[in-house]
């Protein structure tokens, strides 16, 4: 459980960093092998994003990311966490019924009542027993362990209980030494899915990095007044609706553009090992596209054309993740990496479901495929 002491403060955003530590995930064992699929080492941020992250770090402000699905918003959090050697990413997935308070904590009032019913008045369990912390609440808690040692204990206790039916796990990777302040990355995913007032409700908590637990007589939980320890909050939005201005004002904003073909090639190279095998082999320093096998090169260009040229007409625009899925699917189908699209026409037809998410787009896709020399048979979806 040794973590590098040299707390990095500058975000690089791409490449494998030798000094970076393990990849921590909540509930998973630390990963040191950077070739594991989904490892942040394979993530690559563009320059604007890097600057935005750094700006957010400097200003200790939440970073609001927009961009179309599949542009790697969520992966960014993992990357930051890994690169800066922070704790596991604490995720908070917004849902339509999400309340702002859930980001900090939840109090199981029903359990308490049931408990009181069962136990009677003699030995009521402390309210901490019914407390479970949300992602941001947990991050604040761990950032200031000295002040909240008891709450942390309880939290760990509750977590163990929740995980394995009440029994503690010996090797809980997430249990840091209590006295060591730990910074975390909090990912608030797709905040635009939450109710309209959620962002507003979050404002003060996010700004001050503090919250009060009403059930514990307004016990104040706050992060230390040290910017280097404050949780790093990444908020993603799919731009499904406009966020309120006061919320925007408290955020650092960046819109992740659609990845270029080059970038996609780079991503494919990292994420789909089977796609490698281009003319230049695996040599580094050359064009990422050239490193791909011919088939995947063609696939990539087809994908980009399909994605960009008819963008306005597409009911659903596939994103990067679709491409990765598609390539992976094809790889698993054992597509011939040295052949062209035509050679693998049957496989493509079988795997189209990865990018074709809307029936209206079928016509577009078919005609596009035709232009690439592919004629889909009937019923290939």
């Amino acid at each position: 459980m040794t973590r590098p002491d040299s707390a990095r403060t500058h975000f690089v955003g791409k490449g494998t960093l030798p000094e970076a530590g393990l990849w921590l995930r909540e509930g998973y064992a630390p990963v040191s092998d950077t070739t594991v699929p989904g490892h942040p080492a394979g993530y690559s941020a563009d320059e604007g994003l890097v600057e935005a992250v750094n700006t957010a770090l400097i200003l200790a402000k939440p970073l609001l990311l927009t961009g179309r699905p599949g542009t790697g918003k969520s992966e960014l959090a993992e990357r930051i966490s890994w690169e800066l050697a922070l704790g596991p990413v604490l995720r908070f997935e917004s849902q339509s019924l999400t309340e702002a308070q859930e980001l900090f904590y939840r109090f199981d009032l029903i359990a308490q009542m049931a408990d009181a019913q069962l136990r009677g008045d003699d030995a009521p369990r402390p309210p901490e027993h019914f407390l479970s912390f949300g992602a941001l609440g947990k991050a604040i808690l761990y950032a200031n362990p000295q002040a909240h040692a008891r709450l942390i204990e309880w939290d760990q206790h509750n977590t163990r209980q929740l995980r394995i039916g009440g029994g503690p796990t010996e090797e809980s990777p997430i249990a840091p030494p209590i006295n060591e302040a730990q910074r975390s990355v909090v990912l608030i995913d797709e905040i635009d899915k939450a109710a309209r007032d959620v962002p507003n409700d979050l404002l003060n908590g996010i700004e001050r990095m503090a919250f009060r637990i009403r059930e514990m007589r307004n016990h104040l939980v706050s992060a230390p007044n040290d910017d280097t320890l404050k949780p790093i909050v990444i908020i993603t939005s799919n731009s499904e609706r406009d966020l309120p201005d006061p919320f925007l004002r408290r955020c650092v904003y960046y819109n992740i553009p659609d990845p270029t073909q080059e970038k996609l090639a780079e991503i494919l190279r990292l994420r789909v090992p089977a796609a490698l095998g281009g003319p230049s082999g695996g040599a580094t320093g050359v064009n990422a596209i050239d490193q791909l096998a011919p088939f995947y090169q063609d696939l990539l260009s087809f994908f980009v054309e399909y994605r960009d040229e008819r963008a306005a007409h597409l009911a659903y625009r596939p994103g990067t993740s679709e491409l990765i899925d598609w390539a992976n699917a094809l790889a698993r189908y054992h597509a011939d990496p040295q052949g062209d699209l035509k050679a693998n026409a049957a496989l493509i037809g079988r795997s189209l479901g990865t990018i074709l998410k809307h029936q209206d787009d079928r016509q577009t896709l078919t005609s596009k495929l035709k232009r690439f020399g592919l004629a889909l048979g009937p019923g290939t979806t």
Binding site: A52, T55, I58, L59, K61, S239, D245, L248, V252, N255
Partner: protein
């Protein structure tokens, strides 16, 4: 948080950025601002200054997340940031250097300029490319041929190798003279036209305020049919929009409640009476003056068939009325003759009888025939009471008797008709038809009850009838009041509404009735009022009202008279305020109806491009149209009366008043021929309507267009006038300009008929069409004169049709129209032999054989070539066969074996002269008749001139054209000739010009004299009088002779002088040479043998600077550094008289006047002096003016002027008689002028200067000609060749510079080659020169030290001269002066030039006598020789002598070269101001109108 840190400084900081962003509307809240500041502060803290932070562009990705909150904002933020950073950049030069700054600058406004620059650049490139394509290409085959071309017979040797420049490539002949370029007429015309068009466009609006006034007042605006509808549309909607609301208020009561039409009585009696009274002169009843009293003849028709008796007639009210009328008039003493008339249908005659005392008798045959009425007394008026049946038959023709009655004898006649006229139709037309052009015709008046009653009233009471009766009482009281006060003009004032407008409108409504009022309103909609238009609108109005067409006339006749009484309609103008008020008073629906009337009517008119026939009756011609107050009265009455007669408006139009009749007679013609005129009128009117009058919209566009056109015209004109045509691309120049050649020798008035070179090639003889002969200088083109003995009349009578010169130009042959061939001696102008009858018809072509023994001739009719022996006048050889076209020119080949002919169809044919066989095919290429052909002297080429204004060169062997056509003549080429050496061609054209063509390209330097190191430095070079030789005065002490043509030395150098020769001169006959030397002596030499003549001429105490022969060769004058001149006997070598004393400084230049009587000398005392050559006395005062040493002086060839060159860098011209300076100094040289010379014709001056250039000047204007000719060293001497065609110049090299500057002589020698600019050198020299007054006063007493110029005094002792022994022989003071003169101007040149060093090395003697300066230089050289390479190794350092061709004479100044006068600019400025003034004036007017309308509304 932390306050904003100025981390972006220098240059505004982050808050500056925030302010900037906010100013551009980019939302930045305080939180963002604080964040940004924090971020910047952090960056500033955390890192050392790296490019990322100093470069603003690097901040974008950092600041963007903070300041942008939306995806759309990002791009905008980037652009704004770049803008901000760019604005900051000038303040941040250090930052600007970083490479990132230029990454993605957003497009700014500069791109426009960039595009513009690109456009201009591309245009230039296209032009350049075009230009390159226009250049002719060489023909390699020709180069071969030129080598065979023989040299001139007079100039002996072949081209010498010494001619350093490569021989020019032969590309045919090119113009030897540059002519003036003048704009082609169409270009000039187009420029003028553009300017005029623009001016016109600008001037039209100037007139529009007045026209606008006229339009608003309703005057002088013709009906522009094509624009009426547009204009109506423009006028109507604003009115409705503006006024509609008020209309609602003003119009009371529902419009539907009003009855639309009412039946009205058909006649307007009041108007009838008024008109009749005025026309028939009843008014004159008031006058008692007999002369004015009219008499009346009253003829009353009685209907005999109806049994009418006179008594019945009298008892009839009608008859009674006439009876009363007669009685009353008679009571006033007016003679009234009453007759009764009866028409007899059987006899077709009418008879009249007088009433008897008791009654009327009208029996069968009694009474006289109507057609025998006596001639009326003057002024009698005819009144007929009849229904017209009396005069007109059923076919509406005048009855015979009526024609015989000659009614036109009564100029004023009227017919009262008892029945309604409208039922008459054509009959009335016939009655009213005039019989003669000047005859007004009958007036037809109704004789119905009311009219007669009114008439009776007039007759009975004698008062002018105010009896429009009840209706006149409804006439608007306001109008009546104003009319009574004669203030009708107030109603017509276009600008000022009258008081009580609302009251007037009420009265109008009451007076006109509803229909009439609406009609008036309809008339108010269009901006013009015309009778015809009024009627048409009324017609349309009633038609719109669904009135039965058959009743139309009645209704119109009811309303129209009252309408016609209104002053506005009578004057045909309606002010705008009334228009608005009238429309204002209508309810919207009615207003719409009224407008529909106008729309319908005028819309129909618009459909027809030619317009309605009726409406084309626009302006009655003549003065009446200018005076509507009088004319409209009659017009209105006439039309009204026509209306009473029941005519439709269209008919009415055709029944014009008598005043229009003349014009009407022309109408059909006008309509036939006036199409384009009408179009023009319409165009003009539209222009005025829209742009000048309407005060809206497109006027500004038109102004802009006009201004643009004018500006373009002006710019093009100025450009065209100021552009040097030579700088244009060839193609453009030829397209825009035409060459205009005029010789300075005199503008030819006549077309030149023939030209020929003299035998020596130096002169040209030309003969004009009128027989005048002239002689020209072949080199300069100058006119030598007319041939004195030429008998002009003898040559020109009978007029010759062809002319030819013999090869030596001594004889001339002419052929005339009679086929006679005459020979002439050119010099005497006499015929030599009796004429030869050569041909039957006109002699069309003539040619001399080369030896002059044979003449070939061809006739225009027989087209046969015959050859004649000039001596025997007999035919030789056989005549050549006739051609199919007459020959226009003939020429023999140089060997006489071939003959070439040019024909009228532009073809050239070669013939064997002896056999008459054609050689080869015909050469075709000319586009018009050949006028002249010639063989080149070597026979290899043919040259042809043609009527197509071009010359062409042909290869005589192959028949191919060589090179492009030689163009330049402004008209047909009449004649041409090769110079004997073939190098030049002269052509004479119908444009009166001689043109010279050369096969040499323009190279100025033609010969460089062979120069070795020894003879390189030459102080003076002069031409021999015959121009063939050149004598040079060498620095090495030798005089050399050179062949001026080849540049080769002639014989050995003339040795004898012991020091440098400074000056040399030929005797006028060229046999002897005199030279003046540094060794204080002069020497005479035999120019042919090179032997010295006699002993050196000793007498001067100091070096002889300048020598000159007197024009008669008997004397020599010399000027010396001893301040004196001396005269010498050229034969004996003895001095003549005493030295000519007067100068206080060395005499640098002497010259004889051309007549030998005077001598001019220029001296270092800054003055020139004139001396009497015979006595040696000084003439007048010294010529003062120069501020420096006078180095050169020369007389003009006519002796009237003197030119001098000075080291004050200027030349001056002096009047030789008065000694006054003429004009301003000629100042273009940068340092001192060493030598000057007049050209032999006195028109040019050449000067040579130490600034290493020659300069040609126009002697008349003092302006430089062309570019200076650059030399490689200081020019010491210049001289014209005797023929003025060449210049010889001598210079001394001053490069490379080896020695240090004089100031540094004491220091270590230094090899740097810093060369001061000539200006610097000149300045330093000017400073270094001692004031003239301090120069030698007592030469003998001077020491070198004292005589050194100030700068030289600084020389340290080691630099003292090293040859004291030799030096003692000289007056070192004067020598110093000369030394400084030699080396002064360029301090760096004071080191030994290599040539000098060489002289020292090779000729010790010379070295010993070298100037102190040279010794100094030698020493410096010696000091530096250790380190510097030997001078002999220096690359080609030398002076030299070169001969230059004098550029041909430029032509008289083009007029355009005169700078534009001030008034031109003033005019342009005024033109530019016009539009502004106009716009302002129009705006003011528009404001006034609006204000007044607003007032009127209230």
């Amino acid at each position: 948080m932390s306050p904003p840190v100025d981390a972006l400084s220098p240059g505004g900081g982050v808050d500056g950025l925030i302010v900037f962003l906010r100013a551009r509307g980019f939302p930045v809240g305080p939180a963002e601002a604080v964040d940004a500041a924090r971020l910047i502060a952090h960056l500033a803290r955390s890192a050392s200054p790296s490019t990322e932070q100093t470069d603003p562009a690097g901040l974008i990705p950092k600041l963007r997340p903070v300041l942008c909150k939306r995806q759309e904002d990002q791009a905008r933020f980037d652009a704004l940031f770049h803008e901000w950073a760019n604005a900051l950049r000038p303040q941040r030069k250090a930052v600007a250097d970083t490479p990132h700054t230029t990454t993605t600058a957003p497009p700014t406004r500069t791109s426009i300029w960039r595009n513009l620059a690109l456009l201009v650049f591309s245009i230039i490139m296209v032009l350049a490319w075009w230009d390159s394509r226009q250049r002719p290409t060489d023909t390699p085959a020709v180069q071969e041929a030129v080598k065979q071309s023989p040299v001139a017979p007079t100039t002996s040797p072949p081209p010498a190798p010494v001619v350093k420049k490569a021989p020019p490539r032969f590309t045919g002949y090119t113009p030897a003279v540059r002519y003036n370029w003048e704009l082609r007429p169409w270009v000039a015309g187009a420029l003028l036209g553009l300017g005029a068009l623009g001016l016109l466009g600008l001037t039209l609006p100037l007139a529009t305020p007045w026209l606008g006034h006229a339009r608003r007042s309703g005057r002088r605006v013709p009906l522009d049919l094509t624009s009426l509808r547009e204009e109506a549309r423009r006028i109507v909607p604003p009115l409705s929009a503006d006024i509609q609301a008020r209309l609602e208020r003003h119009v009371a009561g529902p419009a539907t409640a009003r009855s639309r039409l009412q039946r009205r009585p058909p006649l307007h009696i009041g108007r009838t009476i008024e008109a009749t009274a005025r026309r028939l002169g009843v008014l004159s009843l008031r006058h008692r003056d007999a002369r004015l009293r009219p008499s009346y003849l009253l003829i009353v028709e009685v209907d005999a068939d109806a049994g009418q008796t006179p008594h019945q007639l009298i008892s009839d009210p009608r008859g009674r009325m006439f009876y009363h009328w007669t009685e009353r008039l008679r009571k006033h003493g007016i003679d009234v003759d009453i007759r009764l008339a009866r028409f007899d249908a059987e006899t077709q005659t009418a008879r009249v009888c007088r009433p008897t005392g008791t009654g009327w008798r009208l029996d069968g045959d009694e009474g006289e025939s109507l057609d025998r009425l006596p001639t009326p007394p003057v002024g009698q008026r005819l009144v007929i009471v009849s229904d017209g049946h009396l005069l007109i038959d059923a076919d509406h023709q005048w009855r015979d008797w009526a024609v015989r009655a000659r009614f036109h004898r009564w100029p004023q006649r009227v017919m009262f008709t008892p029945t309604e006229p409208r039922h008459w139709g054509a009959r009335e037309d016939a009655i009213e038809r005039r019989e003669r052009p000047t005859d007004p015709g009958f007036y037809v008046l109704p004789l119905d009850e009311p009219a007669l009653a009114a008439w009776a009233e007039l007759v009975v009471t004698g008062r002018l009838p105010r009896f429009t009766l009840s209706r006149s009482q409804r006439y608007p009281a306001r109008l009546r009041a104003l009319e009574a006060d004669n203030r009708i003009d107030a109603l017509l004032d276009p600008d000022t509404p009258i008081d009580g407008l609302a009251e007037l409108l009420d009265q109008l409504k009451y007076y006109l009735g509803e229909n009439g009022y609406y009609w008036l309103c309809a008339c108010a909609v269009p901006p013009i009022i015309r009778w015809e238009l009024t009627l048409l609108l009324g017609e349309q109005y009633y038609l719109n009202a669904k009135l039965p067409p058959e009743d139309l006339a009645d209704y119109i006749a009811n309303d129209y008279p009252r309408l016609a009484m209104l002053p506005w309609l009578r004057r045909q103008r309606m002010p705008d305020w009334l228009r608005l008020a009238l429309l204002d008073s209508l309810s919207p629906s009615v207003q719409e109806e009224v407008r529909a009337v106008v729309r319908n009517k005028l819309g129909q008119i618009q459909l027809d491009a030619r317009g309605d026939d009726a409406l084309s009756l626009e302006e009655p011609p003549g003065p009446l149209s200018r005076a509507p107050s009088t004319a409209t009265k009659d017009t209105a009455d006439t039309l009204y009366l026509g209306y009473l007669a029941g005519h439709t408006p269209r008919q009415l139009m055709l029944r014009a008043p008598s005043e229009w009749s003349v014009w009407l007679a022309q109408l059909p013609v006008r309509q036939r021929t006036g199409l384009w005129r009408e179009w023009l009128t319409a165009w003009r009117d539209r222009l005025l309507w829209r742009n000048g009058l309407s005060f809206y919209g497109s006027s500004r566009r038109m102004l802009r267009v006009s201004t643009g056109v004018l500006a373009i015209g002006v710019v093009l004109s100025v450009t065209a006038l100021r552009t040097e045509p030579d700088t244009l691309p060839t193609g453009a120049r030829d397209a825009l300009y035409t060459e205009q050649g005029r010789w300075t020798g005199g503008v030819q008035s006549a077309s030149i008929r023939a030209v020929a070179y003299g035998a020596d090639g130096a002169t040209i003889i030309s003969i004009d069409w009128d027989g005048g002969q002239r002689q020209w200088n072949a080199r300069t083109g100058g006119l030598i004169g007319t041939l004195l003995n030429a008998d002009k009349d003898a040559i020109s009578t009978p007029p010759f049709t062809s002319v030819a010169f013999s090869a030596d130009a001594r004889h001339m042959a002419t052929g005339d129209a009679d086929g006679m061939l005459r020979l002439w001696d050119v010099r005497t102008g006499k015929t030599i032999d009796p004429p030869i009858q050569a041909h039957d018809g006109m002699v069309s072509a003539l040619a001399f054989s080369p030896d002059g023994s044979v003449i070939a001739s061809s006739g225009a009719t027989d087209t046969v070539i015959r050859q004649w022996n000039t001596a025997t006048a007999e035919a030789v050889n056989r005549p050549m066969p006739p051609q199919n076209i007459f020959l226009t020119s003939l020429a023999y080949s140089p060997d006489g074996r071939r003959l070439v002919s040019g024909s009228g169809n532009g073809e050239i044919q070669l013939w064997d002269a002896s056999t008459g066989q054609a050689i080869g095919p015909a050469m075709a290429g000319h586009e018009d008749e050949i006028t002249s052909v010639a063989f080149s002297p070597d026979g290899a080429y043919l040259l042809s001139g043609s009527n197509d204004a071009s010359l062409r060169l042909w290869d005589a062997k192959t028949g191919n054209a060589v090179g492009p056509p030689m163009r330049g003549h402004g008209g047909p080429v009449n004649s041409l000739a090769f110079s004997p050496d073939g190098a030049q061609v002269v052509s004479g054209g119908a444009d009166g010009t001689l043109r010279f063509w050369t096969n040499r390209p323009n190279e100025d330097a033609i010969v460089t004299l062979n120069s070795t190191a020894e003879d390189a430095d030459v102080y003076q070079a002069v031409f021999s009088p015959d121009g063939t030789k050149i004598a040079t005065a060498g620095k090495d002490g030798a005089v050399r002779l050179w062949n001026a043509a080849t540049g080769q030395a002639i014989g050995a150098p003339l040795q004898g002088h012991t020091d440098s020769v400074l000056s040399v001169a030929f005797s006028p006959d060229g046999s002897r040479i005199v030279s003046g030397s540094w060794d204080k002596t002069l020497r005479l030499w035999d120019a042919t043998t090179g032997q010295a003549i006699g002993a050196p001429l000793q007498g001067h105490a100091d070096p002889v600077q300048s020598v000159a022969f007197s024009p008669d060769g008997s004397r020599i004058v010399s000027g010396s550094n001893d301040n004196n001149l001396r005269l010498w006997d050229a034969i004996t070598g003895q001095t003549i008289g005493e030295p000519l004393q007067g100068h206080s400084g060395p005499v640098n230049s002497v010259a004889f006047s051309p007549d030998g009587s005077r001598i001019v000398s220029g001296s270092s005392d800054t003055t020139l002096r004139l001396w009497r050559a015979a006595t040696g006395q000084s003439i007048g005062e010294p010529l003062r003016g120069h501020s420096g040493w006078v180095l050169g002086a020369a007389f003009s060839p006519d002796g009237s002027r003197i030119v001098s060159g000075s080291n004050d860098t200027t030349l001056r011209l002096w009047d030789a008689a008065t000694g006054q300076s003429v004009g301003a100094p000629l100042q273009e040289h940068s340092v001192e002028v060493r030598s000057v010379a007049f050209s032999p014709d006195g028109k040019r001056i050449v000067s040579g200067s130490y600034d290493a250039s020659l300069r040609l000047w126009d002697a008349a204007t003092g302006k430089g000609i062309g570019q200076p000719i650059a030399q490689t060293g200081r020019v010491f001497s210049v001289a014209f060749s005797p023929d003025g065609a060449r210049i010889v110049s001598a210079w001394i090299a001053d490069q490379p510079v080896i020695a240090p500057q004089l100031d540094q002589v004491g220091g270590p020698p230094n090899n740097t080659t810093t060369i001061p600019t000539p200006q610097e050198a000149g300045n330093s020299n000017a400073q270094s020169v001692a004031p003239p007054t301090t120069t030698p006063e007592a030469p003998a007493a001077r020491t070198p030290q004292q005589k050194l110029p100030p700068r030289q005094k600084q020389i340290s002792p080691p630099q003292k001269p090293q040859a004291p022994a030799k030096k003692s022989h000289h007056d070192t003071g004067a020598r110093e002066t000369f030394a400084s003169l030699l080396g002064d101007i360029i301090p760096t040149a004071q080191a030994a030039t290599p040539a000098m060093v060489l002289a020292q090395n090779t000729e010790p003697q010379t070295r010993q006598t070298a100037t102190p300066r040279a010794i100094l230089e030698g020493e410096a050289r010696a000091q530096s020789s250790a380190s510097a390479p030997p001078a002999a190794d220096a690359p080609a350092p030398s002076g030299g002598v070169q001969i230059w061709r004098v550029p041909p004479y430029p032509l008289p100044l083009r007029p355009a070269e005169a700078p534009p006068q001030l008034w031109t600019y003033a005019l342009l400025a005024a033109l530019g101001l016009w539009p502004i003034l106009l716009i302002q004036r129009r705006r003011r007017l528009a404001r006034q109108i609006k204000r007044r309308i607003a007032e009127a509304d209230q």
